[in-house]
Amino acid sequence: MNRKLRLTVNGTAREVEIPTYRTLLDCLRNDLGLTGSKEGCGVGVCGACTVLLDGKMISSCIALAVSADGHEVTTVEGLAGDERLHPVQQAFIDAGGFQCGICTPGQVVSAKALLDAIPNPTDAEIREWMLGNLCRCTGYYKIIESIRTAAQRSRA
């Protein structure tokens, strides 16, 4: 029950042949070698597997890869340019928005989606948007600070 899929991943057309039961997360990690997205809870709660599907953030651990056939996927690997990090990534470094790092790809992808939708979010908007991305070491203040920093810099 294999299927051939055509997807655009981080701007590049990719073809994979995979079993129908492959999750999008496993397809990205195992078939396409993009191991930035992580599996945490496996049930859509923790946010470590967050990717963008046609620009909207989703939990790739509970998305079937076949459902992304013909669509665009953006992972954390697709955010940086050749020479420089995405402003959100740079802000997470500068404001200390991570420690162990396992939740970070999901945090960064969610934060990018937030700033795409709301370029100047209030703290309340940041909290509501990011509540589905769990962090068990940094705590959330520095993550919020990182997002605020990224938003400020893009205003400058």
Binding site: I58, A63, S67, L131
Partner: protein
């Protein structure tokens, strides 16, 4: 996850034909948030998945008789952020906003959530209080059912084999009406409710007496529950703290909650009374403001 065949037809007729051929072994998938999670946990092992995602026409929110019609493929986030829903039925936008996280709301669809028939969900509670009707298509044709009659048991709906939900129609509230959704959520903001209540209050032209009220509760039984006895207590009455408290108390015998990590059954029964009181208070205030 088990192996399965997968089809993503472009028309509803094609989807219905596959469902007829495959019988009980097939499951319909839309956003996948419920089904894929259950498959990963091996709670269900369908041999065939029929995706509705590529069928055009099911993803629209439309004006309908003063209210709204929401297609089955509309996501929770789209209802939450819809200008039409916010204008006509703000309580519905607010209810969808209370579901899980933005990320899950981007995936989960309105039709999928109804077909899943999980009594802990938020939207059915408000939809029942608003008098919504669900649209169903099957091989033999289409039918419509009030949402209240649609939920039959824990994870069990009135859908017959081979039928799919195609949308939900939500009427506009009468003039001088207000509505509220209150979700008691003592753990995390993205959790299911411990107790949830939606209430609508419509006032007489005098702006004082209640003409009609509708009350629905979630997370306190095997289906969402409509509290008709509490509604009847309010008809013709003027606002009063005692009246709303009595209406709240009256639901204690109607609810049948399970003890779980969100609270004991006894606790949820007490909180159901409190939440009905709060929802009615907010709904009544909103009705006065709407005059």
């Amino acid at each position: 996850m088990n192996a399965f065949e997968y089809a993503a037809p472009r028309t509803l007729d094609e989807a219905l034909a596959i469902l007829r051929e495959q019988g009980d072994e097939a499951r319909v998938i839309a956003g996948g948030t419920a089904l894929v999670t259950m498959m990963r946990q091996r709670l269900v092992r369908p041999s065939y998945l029929v995706s509705l995602r590529e069928i055009p026409g099911l993803e629209r929110i439309e004006a309908a008789n003063g209210g709204v019609r929401i297609g089955a493929l509309v996501t929770h986030r789209e209802v939450e952020t819809s200008a039409l829903v916010r204008e006509r039925l703000p309580v519905l936008a607010e209810t969808f906003r209370r579901v899980a996280s933005v990320r899950i709301r981007n995936m989960a669809t309105v039709g999928g959530a109804l077909a899943h028939a999980d009594p802990n969900q938020d939207p059915p509670v408000t939809l029942i209080a608003l008098g919504a009707r669900v649209e169903i298509r099957g091989a033999v044709g289409r039918r419509e059912l009030s949402l209240e009659e649609f939920f039959r048991d824990y994870y069990e709906s009135a859908l017959e084999p081979g039928e799919v939900v195609t949308g939900v129609v939500v009427p506009q509230l009468p003039p001088a009406s207000g509505a509220a959704y209150v979700k008691f959520l003592p753990r995390t903001a993205d959790d299911y409710a411990t107790v949830a209540v939606a209430a609508t209050v419509s006032l007489e032209p005098d702006g004082e007496r209640c003409r009609a009220a509708r009350i629905a509760l979630g997370s306190v039984g095997v289906t969402p529950i409509r509290a008709r006895a509490a509604e009847a207590l309010l008809t013709g009455q003027r606002f009063g703290a005692d009246l709303l408290k009595t209406a709240g108390e009256s639901v204690k015998g109607v609810v049948d909650p399970l003890s779980d990590h969100r609270g004991s059954a006894a606790y949820k029964r007490e909180m159901a009374a409190v939440m009905v009181d709060r929802a009615l208070t907010q709904g009544w205030e909103a009705a006065r403001a709407a005059r």
